[in-house]
Structures are given as C-alpha cells and as structure tokens.
Amino acid sequence: MPSRTVLTSGDIDRAITRIAHEIVESNHGTKNLILLGVPTRGVQLAKRIAAVIERHYPEFDASGSVGRLDITMYRDDLSLHPNRPVTETNIPASGIDGGAVVLVDDVLFSGRTIRAALDALNAHGRPSVVRLAVLVDRGHRELPIRADFVGKNLPTSRDERISVNLSETDGENCVVIES
C-alpha cells in the first residue's frame, strides 16, 4: 500500500502549539477551560495541548482540566460493527457545568464521532460552550459539524486511510496517508 507522510513530528508539535494558543485566544484566557479527549488518540492530543497552555499560562492547571470522554455507548453505528470495547470516561472533578469544553480528536471525518461525543457530554452536564479541536480535518462530513481549531486540512478521497501516530500510543509522531 503506497503511503506518504503528510505531517512530521515537527509539524505536529507546531500544530499543537498553534491550536493551544488559538484555544486560549478564543476563550479570552484560560478561565473555565476544560479539554476532553476522545479515545484513543484524542486523549493524548488533549494532554499535549494542555501542557502547552500550562507552559505559557501558569495559572492553568493542566492535570485538573483534562479528561477523556468515551463515546462507544453513544455511537449510531453500534449495530453495524463488531462489539466495540468500552473504555474509561474521566471528567475533571470540577465537572463541566458552565465550563468552556474543548473536545479534542485526531481526525475529523464523517462527524459521527463528534455527534456521539456531544450526546455523551449532555449526560455529564451543561457546558457554557463546546468547541472542537482536531489534528486533521479530512473532509467528507455526513453531519453539519465543523471544527473550530484544525491542525491541518487534508483533502482526501474516501478510500484513502489517514493514520495518526503519536509517540504515547504508536512509538512515533507522524500523520501518514495510505491509498
């Protein structure tokens, strides 16, 4: 399968740094900011973004503001796919009521994962605002959903596969496109 690297380790770092600054800018500071990663790789990205924010804004408590939101139970395609493992959901202890929640995922594709995440969020409380940050937006949306913060827009064909590799889960940092 021919593959080519579209984002290198350095590109990913720069994209994360830019997204972190954009998030703080649009929130007018770090007040009430909560980052929720969508498993698996969204969680790692959320942690990295939070670390960058903490480095530049010491008043931001990264460990107390990052969580993970498992969306398996909220998928609309549960009956089409083999049994999916459920993973842990971890909401910061302060809760999300009134907070500025940023959902973080690796690839934005059909938008169905994010729809499920919005439903899952409902069960945990009512944030004052919900935004979406993704490392790669590859198009082909099936729902009226768009990302507020995008690492890279990557026009793809439907049959191509985007694989995001992060050192925490895959041993290296790169985004590869396979066709």
Partner: protein, 319 residues
C-alpha cells in the same frame, strides 16, 4: 472477543470474555454514579423479562439495567398471564418472537429452561439466564466476582484483572444453589480458589465440572483457608423435599455466620450473601449489617453488571 449470543451458564464465559464483561461493568458503574444515569445504547430494542419464579432483586435489577440502556422493557410474570391458563413455554416464547423481542431474560423453576429456549429455535433473540431451577445463575456469579474484584483491587484499579489467588468459601445449601454452582465455575475461570462448607446432606459428593475443596466443619475451614471472601447461601426451604438437617437452630449454630465467626475472619474479608437473607438462620442480623457485609453493594453492582451483559450480547447485530 469471540461473539457471545446467549448467556446461559457461567461456563459460557472464557476468562477473557468474563474479564471483558467485568471491565464494561466498571464503566457502567461510572454511569450509575453520575447525575444522568442513562445511555442511548439499546434504543429501539425490546427486552422481555420472563419470570416464571418469584424474584425481587434480580427482576428489578434487570429492569433497571435495561431502562438505563434505553431498551423497551416488557415484564412478564407467570402469575396473571396465560401461563396460568396452561400455555406452554413454547407458545409463550413464540408469542414473544412474533412481537419482536430482541432479548429474553428468563427465570424458571426448571433446570435447563434457558437452554431449551436458546436451542429450540422458537425465538431468535439473545437469551439471558436469570436463574433456572437448581442449575445456574450466571449474572449473579458475575456480580459477585465484580464485587470481590472491586474490593480486592480497588475502584478504578480493577480493569483487566482476574481473581487469581483469591480464596472464597461458599457456605450452606450448595446442593440446591444455582448461585453456588455459577459462582464456583466463574471463580475457577478467573483463577480463584473455591471451598465449599456444608452439611454432608447439602453438598454434592463430587460436584461435576467444578474445582472445589469440600469441608464439613465451618470453624476448621475458616481457620485453615483464611478466606478473602465468605459467601453465605440461602437455605432454600422451597426446594427441600426432605429434612436435610435436624433443626434450624442447629443449622444456625453449626453452619451460620454469627459475630464470633465474623471476628475470626481476617480484617477486610468480604461477607457476601446473594439475598434474600434468612436473618437468624444462615446469617445473624449483626453479621449481615457489619462493615464486612457486601449485601447491598452486591445489589448495586448487579445493575452495572447486568448492563454490561446486555451491552455485550445486544449492542451488535448478528446475521
């Protein structure tokens, strides 16, 4: 994970499958702890609770689990239904099939009723055994294993773990107890060491398919085994057609859990009972209400575990 269609026996579960269900239950417990205790997972699916035998906690627990997963629930009790007019299990099952039940939770007084329903072809949905005669009660075994695992490894640190090296003593009416059988099978699967303590009249001479040591003296067994969990079984008067022990007072003195035996347990040992308890017979009120007692914990864990079972069996369509 291999695809599980029905849950009829604790023996249907491999170690990996059992741990996977317990892990899902761990997440379901998280759902049950939050303000909005509802998931949309089984929206549009119908579950029938088919109860031919009386039950309080199992039926309520299943119903709650089904509702928290957004399934449509039909409760069927044999009393007040056409069963009392003489309708057979086959006709009842075919009626449910015609109405489009996606899963049937069945409790029946006859051992093997769930198996019959699953193999008959009368019904297409998933069958969950909620207790069949003196045979099995697999969801009870899962919730007991979940309770032991949570107390042993701690909440939030249990995922992926079995019960290796845990010593469990099961006391009382082993002969008539589907809870004891399912528990022993699942505990074996998960790596725990199983001991039965019972009067010789209430324990099978050679329990088939179960690795367990049999003791006849409760105090000696407690001293020798030093169990991590003691599971008291209910004396099932309704299934006893002969006298298995001289008197209730003697049973209580020799085989019952009282404060003295409770004090002999190692600190933190679990005192379990599947309920309903005969207070004063197999367990004294003092022991039942002690901090070691997990009776109510078992009930709340039951909902999480049954949600996990329903999710595992139903959240996938089979062709």
């Amino acid at each position: 994970m291999s695809q599980l269609k029905h849950l009829l026996s604790a023996a249907d579960l491999s170690r990996d499958a059992a741990i996977a269900i317990l892990d899902v239950a761990e997440e379901m417990a998280g759902v049950n702890a939050r303000a909005i205790k509802k998931l949309p997972t089984l929206q549009g699916k119908t579950v029938v609770n088919l109860f031919f035998e009386d039950s309080t906690r199992t039926r309520i627990s299943f119903e709650l689990a089904e509702k928290r997963l957004s399934a449509d629930v039909i409760n069927f009790a044999a009393k007040g239904s056409s069963v009392s007019k003489g309708e057979s299990l086959k006709d009842t099952a075919q009626t449910l099939e015609a109405m489009g039940a996606d899963a049937v939770v069945i409790r029946h007084g006859a051992s093997g009723a769930a198996q019959t329903l699953a193999q008959s072809g009368w019904i297409d949905g998933a069958i969950i055994n909620a207790g069949d005669g003196t045979h099995e009660h697999p969801t009870q075994a899962l919730l007991d294993a979940f309770t032991i695992r949570r107390r042993t490894h701690g909440v939030g640190a249990s995922a992926g773990k079995g019960l290796d090296g845990i010593k469990v003593v099961i006391v009382g009416d082993v002969l008539h107890s589907r809870v004891a059988r399912s528990n022993a099978i699942l505990l074996n699967t998960l790596g725990a060491e199983v001991h039965f303590v019972a009067p010789p009249t209430l324990v099978p001479a050679k329990p088939a398919g179960i690795k367990a040591q049999i003791h006849y003296d409760f105090d000696a067994a407690l001293a020798a085994v030093k169990p991590d969990a003691v599971m008291m079984l209910r004396i099932q008067s309704e299934r006893m057609n002969a006298s298995y022990f001289p008197s209730e007072r003697e049973y209580s003195r020799v085989w019952g859990m009282d404060s003295e035996r409770l004090a002999a347990l190692k600190p933190g040992a679990l005192l379990m009972h599947p309920g309903p308890m005969n207070r004063g017979l197999e367990i004294t009120a003092e022991a039942a209400d002690s901090p070691n007692s997990t009776v109510l914990e078992q009930v709340s864990n039951g909902v999480s575990v049954r949600m996990a079972v329903l999710y595992t069996l139903m959240a996938t369509e089979r062709n």
